[in-house]
């Protein structure tokens, strides 16, 4: 199955493990990811906070590029923030006035009939749990994982078209097939404050602390995420949080694609797990994966 692939800026730098592991598992599952040639930044939060028309034009430009270069009507986006921006743009461009403006800005009219999927949707809807089951080589039986979705994967439901937006369970159903024990917890879709990481670090630390606290007290020994910004925040701020709040967090944060890769028998090194800031070596050793 061929899909256009829009990695987004984070997956080429701080979220590089997500990119590596996504490519690996998609190869195993038979998904052919074709990266959009010359893709550009989707604009992210700074754009929709300062220039509405550009925040629609930049994602639409990427969709037009995908159509022009790949001639595929489906785009797979692993980053929750990029996914949200692309979906928002598709919704807002239905307005004729905005449409005319955007077409003038990007100088292209061919961006229609394209469906944007998040990586989770591609795996669940296009591949299905039965096929995943056939690829599982090792059961991750000692993993107690809290699945964290963050804000933009499910919200607002009008844009993301998700039915279960307050208590989603897509990630849990995949992880369940891998033999993971899913933890029931409260903060699945709570905001981690990633957009404030540089602007208001105090807000970000407090929000991230609330999430880590809830996951640990619910009995999780790892957290699974599907967004590079959530991952960076939960993974790299634990030391700072421990210092500020006198806590003792040392919980590994995995991308769900890394957990899938581990279960498919791909070596941890090739999934980028050793690039995390919170160390996972001991954890994997205890679970007999090293």
């Amino acid at each position: 199955m061929k899909v256009s692939y829009y990695p987004g800026c984070s997956l080429h730098s701080t979220g590089i493990e997500y990119n590596i592991s996504t490519q690996k598992i998609c190869k195993t599952l038979g998904i052919d990811l074709i990266e959009i040639e010359n893709w550009i930044c989707c604009g992210s939060s700074p754009t929709h906070q300062s220039d509405e028309i550009l925040s629609i034009a930049l994602p639409i430009k990427n969709i037009a590029n995908s159509k022009k270069n790949n001639n595929i009507n489906e785009i797979c986006v692993p980053c929750a923030s990029c996914y949200s921006r692309l979906k928002f743009a598709q919704e807002k461009i239905k307005d004729i006035e905005i449409q005319n403006k955007v077409e003038y800005i990007i100088n292209s009219k061919d961006y229609h009939n394209v469906t944007v999927f998040h990586l989770l949707d591609v795996i669940i809807k296009k591949i299905g749990l039965d096929k995943i089951k056939t690829k599982v080589k090792k059961l991750l039986s000692k993993f107690k994982v809290a699945s964290y979705y963050g804000c933009l994967l499910t919200r607002p439901p009008k844009i993301t078209e998700k039915v279960k937006y307050e208590n989603p369970d897509d990630m849990e159903s995949i992880l369940g097939v891998l033999g993971v024990e899913n933890i029931d917890w409260n903060m699945k879709t709570y905001c981690c404050g990633a957009s404030f990481a540089l602007i208001q670090p105090d807000v970000m630390l407090e929000l991230t602390k609330r999430i880590l606290e809830d996951a640990v007290s619910a009995g999780a020994n790892a957290i699974s995420v599907a967004c590079p910004l959530c991952h960076f925040n939960l993974d790299s701020r634990q030391k700072k949080i421990n210092k500020k709040y006198n806590t003792n967090f040392n919980i590994p944060i995995f991308y769900f694609s890394q957990l899938m890769g581990l279960s498919f028998g791909i070596s941890p090194n090739r999934l980028g797990v050793f690039r995390h800031i919170t160390k996972v070596k001991e954890y994997l050793f205890n679970k007999e994966l090293l």
């Binding site: 730098s13 701080t14 300062s50 804000c151 933009l152 607002p156 404050g193 540089l198």
Partner: protein, 184 residues
């Protein structure tokens, strides 16, 4: 947006302006506080999102821009998702930020405007965001040059950051920004 029974002494032009820019009608809000209950950043705000909606209804523009509330929205869309009147509250927050920038309104904490400005400049010339550049320039402008300095070493060591920017379609990007500017 048509307002019936206008009361004397209330400035309706602010709400009408917001309606014009965002398409959202603040007079639909009946102050149920669902947005505030779900807001993760409420504990940091001077007043709640519910109060914000009321202030807009009453045209109290000064009160809104003198306090920090609109700058603490994390764009998580919980309020928008849960509003029983279907008001896109997060979009109203964005609209207020755009108005503040456009009208050069004096605000106390300029860090978010600086961050957005640096971000937009980088994508304008490079096409994609270049994180080391973003962090370095923003920290410098924000008078906090050593913020996240400790983390930078770890990121380089773990090969988690791109040391050099990729330059993608600079001329096309600049054209897009120029065209957007022309439309204003």
């Amino acid at each position: 947006m048509k307002i019936n029974n206008k009361l004397e002494g209330i400035d309706y032009s602010f709400a009408e302006n917001i309606n014009k820019i965002s398409g959202q009608n603040v007079y639909l809000c009946y102050q149920c506080k669902k947005c505030t209950s779900g807001c993760p950043a409420f504990s940091f705000m001077d007043f709640s999102p519910t109060n914000l909606m009321r202030y807009i209804q009453l045209g109290l523009k000064d009160k809104i821009f003198k306090r920090n509330t609109i700058w603490f929205c994390t764009s998580c869309y919980t309020c928008t998702t849960r509003c029983p009147q279907d008001i896109d509250i997060a979009h109203i927050f964005d609209t207020l930020k755009i108005i503040a920038k456009k009208e050069h309104i004096k605000i106390n904490n300029k860090s978010i405007l600086k961050f957005n400005m640096v971000w937009m400049t980088i994508i304008k010339y490079f096409g994609r965001i270049y994180e080391p550049g973003l962090i370095a320039i923003f920290n410098m402008l924000n008078n906090n040059p050593l913020q996240n300095f400790d983390l930078a070493f770890k990121l380089i060591k773990n090969r988690k950051i791109k040391l050099f920017p990729s330059i993608i379609e600079t001329f096309k990007m600049m054209k897009i920004f120029l065209n957007a500017k022309r439309l204003k």
